[in-house]
Amino acid sequence: MTEDKKKLTLVLFSGELDKALAAFNIATTAAAMDKDVTIFFTFWGLNVIKKPGGRVPGTGMLALMNRMNRGGANRLKLSKFNMLGAGTGLMQHFMGRAGLPSLEQMLAMGKQLGVHYIACTTTMGVMGLTEQDFVPEVESFAGAATYLAAADEAGVNLFIS
């Protein structure tokens, strides 16, 4: 194992707006500081990189579950004070006023800065998702072992739960 202080990895497990924003804030800042950044999207975090107008995969109950779990960076909700979307709307309004980028913009910005996006294939399988359900910024589709190979070399590794 060689630890590289110039590397940072994140496991983005959560699909909540506030947590995703925190994750992307760290990722883009680190990338701007010339660090090599990898984000591994798993479970609810997959919603962050789903195509917004994408299909609802699966049949029967799985389709129902996916309909209730529609993704897309602009569909995420706050983990607290969502208030049926009012809190989330308010947060987005204030972010816009403060000149802060939205999650969608940060996703594109991160990509431009060279952040590596990996989607977890194990959880994709469970939810009936395929590669076509994700935005083109996603660089690779792999399991935990691939992610850990990157994490093992990094100085900072975070799990965003």
Binding site: G15, M65, G128, A144, L148, N157
Partner: protein
């Protein structure tokens, strides 16, 4: 600490007792140990439910007994943090996992142990919840507090709080 060579080791502190988070933690642990890393998993607070025996009877009376009844443990009783839908979402998740041939948390506990993962239960929340060593599955062999396991955590190259 400064300049000390970190060991090729993964250290997971599992605070959450949600099914999805437990699955993620065990997947990371299994992947790491397959890659030849040493892995230690600490279960604390709600995470204790993952390694509790399903028939555990916490000690105490009154309020503590009530809490224990509301907070029953066991790897098969864990529920999703989102889309649980009174157990429907969790049942669906379990079914899909079985169909895709993925192991459940209950399967992964002995599997990871066999592969050499070390399990620690944190004694502080155990006391809080009236749990004793006999309330846990036999795979858990170490019962210590934060000060003890942090000595180990600071040597690890990878540490996660889940």
């Amino acid at each position: 600490m400064e300049g000390a060579q970190k060991q090729d080791k993964m250290f997971l502190i599992i605070y959450s007792g949600d099914l999805d988070r437990a699955l993620s933690a065990f997947s990371l642990a299994l992947a790491a140990i397959s890659l030849g890393m040493a892995v230690t998993m600490v279960f604390t607070m709600w995470g204790l439910n993952i390694v509790r025996r399903p028939d555990a009877k916490p000690e105490g009376s009154g309020l503590r007994k009530l809490i224990a009844r509301l907070n029953r443990g066991g790897a098969r009783r864990l529920q999703l943090s989102r889309l649980n839908m009174m157990g429907l979402g969790t049942a669906l998740m379990n079914r899909t996992m079985r169909r895709s041939g993925l192991p459940t948390v209950a399967d992964m506990i002995p599997l990871a142990k066999q592969m050499g993962v070390k399990y620690i239960a944190c004694t502080t929340p155990m006391g809080l919840m009236g749990l004793t060593e006999k309330d846990f599955v036999p795979e858990v062999d170490t019962f210590v507090g934060a000060a003890t396991y942090l000595l180990e955590a600071k040597e690890a190259a990878l540490t996660y709080f889940i």
